[in-house]
Amino acid sequence: MGNRITTTLEALRQQGRKALVTYIVNGDPVPQATLVTMHAMVDAGVDIIELGVPFSDPMAEGPVIALGHERALANKTSLRSTLALVKQFRETNSTTPVVLMGYANPVERMGYAAFATQAQAAGVDGLLTVDLPPEEAEELNAELKAVGIENIFLLAPTTTDARASHIVSLAGGFLYYVSLKGVTGAGHLDVGSVATKLGHLRQLTSLPICVGFGIKDAESAKAIAASADGAVVGSLLVGRMGQLAGESAETIAAAVVELIKPIRAGLDELSG
């Protein structure tokens, strides 16, 4: 079976559509909300799910997602419980790609080989480790490759051409372009400079490029996706979910869907 990420992005490319990628943290704000929200997001037109694996020290996150990690940890969420959740998701969804997004230490603790085997068995398609740049990722790359899981690398506004060439040579699935210098949820998105940088990156790679950090509504998603293959939305959803910590899983999922709908519609206006 080919990797779901590649299959999905290739199908979108053929349809001339943009990918909507959404990020939520497993176990946030309550453990039972995650699975329900994942299925609801798929029904609302989400193409790829990035599932945050909470970490005690989420250095790249802004305050909104950092709080999501804190809530998830208070609910005893772990890398192991996240793999179990993906397995559950796969019981009724065999097509939507799931990318785990988190930090190196929980994966280190489990062991690279053990992680790769268990993640593959659970139905994980990709791994994005924020603090594992290509220089330190060789060993993990080899383990992931052996089981057909894509290692999703970040590119940033500060990435030099030399680094970018090296990174794209290792990358699979898609490239995640960090739209701004800053943490997740930051407010200083510059659409023009993203477009310029993406134009540049396109000369180095034919891999799809999704853009995240700082996308907070249909308008910004549309503006960014005009030059990208997909838009990643995270803080917007995690912030809303955090407000609903006392509500039922269904209420939380419905609120997420309300936020996603206009963004999906906005992206689809770019189709063609």
Binding site: P106, E108, R109, L154, K181, G182, V183
Partner: protein, 408 residues
């Protein structure tokens, strides 16, 4: 005293390797946005570290601004009481701003100046590194923002006010355990946001490469002086070195120039908190396992899911779940021994040194003193221990008074 397991073949000057690794430790585990900034810093440092003008400027500042060399003082009365080895104190407490931290901030401030960046950020635990950073920023006319855990802001309030007087902005960090590790997370978030104009002065030998290397190099002045002073005063090398280990900068500064002196035993003292067996401590080399945090691979205090756990130490400067990667490596190859001293033992050493020698040590340094007090009686009277007295205890007076139930 015959347990040195050093393999004679190790060439310590070759570490870290080109990618910042000390064996399996160290490295550069940060998000992509920061990688180019670290490459730049590394290139600049490699250019400047062998530049005689840069070295001269550094040495001049250490001599005339910091007040180096710091004395190596024979604590005769204390040694006699303990009834064993002669204990010499390397008096980093007499440096300008009151601790070894300033050696490093002087060096990194020079790097900041050469880099053309206009803004300095720092993380701090006890506040000594924050004060030292605010100090060099004031002197260079640079803007300075310091991140400090809200818990530490409370227990080191004197240093918070010192930083403010020096013109720095202090951010109390409310996330996580509200101590040094959370301050470091927040400083990293600031840096990734303001990487174009900001120089991040890391206060210890941790963080992504090249920080563990350059902080070590700046702190090695401690060990170089101590070695020379010991030879001058006693005609021989010491038998043992003792230093406290938070991130490990004062310790590596003392240890590194002695690594090839095989007869010298090396002891790093971690914070045992309520006791290593209680789990409430800050002693990753005694009771941790290797993992990745704050840009490097090293020993960490973490749970079975790889989450970093909360630490405890009476001393804010040692209250950190990780440790510099070079110490992790020195432990594994057996060149240095890492032991732990509990809160109450450190408090006792604080009181003893104050009364017996008229020197009030920082609570961090008191951990090293407490271990030396255990070690000295097991050694002969003609043997020598050098203890790194990394800082003065004025900043800790409110903590000590609170333990005594006194309101100052």
């Amino acid at each position: 005293m015959s347990e040195v397991k050093q393999s004679a073949a190790v060439d310590y000057s070759q570490f870290p390797d080109a990618r910042g690794h000390f064996g399996q430790y160290g490295g550069r585990f940060v998000s992509e946005t920061l990688m180019p900034a670290l490459d730049e810093l590394e290139q600049m440092y490699n250019r400047l570290k062998d530049d005689p003008d840069f070295q001269q400027e550094f040495d001049r500042d250490l001599a005339h601004y910091v007040g180096r060399p710091s004395p190596l003082y024979y604590a005769e009365r204390w040694s006699e009481r303990l009834g064993g080895a002669r204990i010499y104190l390397k008096r980093e407490d007499l440096n300008h701003t009151g601790a070894h931290k300033v050696n490093n901030t002087i060096g990194q401030a020079l790097l900041a100046k050469y880099s053309g960046k206009t803004r300095i950020i720092a993380e701090t635990g006890a506040g000594q590194h924050g004060v030292a950073s605010a100090t060099v920023a004031a002197r260079l006319g640079l803007k300075c923002e310091v991140y400090m855990g809200a818990e530490d802001v409370k227990r080191q309030s004197l240093n918070v006010y010192r930083m403010k007087l020096l013109g720095a902005t202090v951010h109390a960090v409310e996330s996580g355990s509200k101590t040094l590790k959370d301050a470091m997370n927040e400083a990293m978030r600031d840096w990734v946001t303001n990487v174009d104009d900001t120089f991040y002065i890391i206060g210890t030998v941790a963080g992504p490469h090249p920080y563990p290397q350059l902080v070590r190099d700046f702190q090695c002045v401690i060990g170089r002086e101590a070695r020379e002073q010991c030879l001058q005063q006693t005609g021989r090398l010491p038998d043992a070195l003792v230093a406290c280990v938070g991130g490990g900068s004062n310790a590596i500064g003392l240890f590194h120039p002695f690594l090839t002196d095989e007869s010298v035993q090396i002891y790093g003292v971690e914070a045992g908190g309520y006791g290593v067996e209680t789990g409430k401590h800050a002693a990753p080399l005694n009771d941790g396992i290797p993992g990745v945090l704050h840009g490097n691979r090293t020993y960490l205090m973490e749970d079975e899911d790889g989450q970093i756990i909360e630490t405890h130490s009476v001393s804010a400067g040692l209250d950190y779940p990780g440790v510099g990667p070079e110490h992790a490596w020195l432990k594994d190859i057996g060149r240095a021994n890492y032991v732990a001293i509990n809160d109450d033992e450190a408090m006792e050493a604080f009181r003893t040194l104050t009364r017996v020698e008229g020197i009030m040590p920082a609570l961090e340094s008191s951990h090293a003193l407490a271990y030396a007090a255990k070690l000295a009686p097991t050694m002969d009277k003609d043997q020598i221990i050098i203890v790194n007295l990394s800082g003065r205890g004025d900043k800790d007076i409110l903590t000590v008074a609170a333990i005594d139930g006194i309101e100052v």
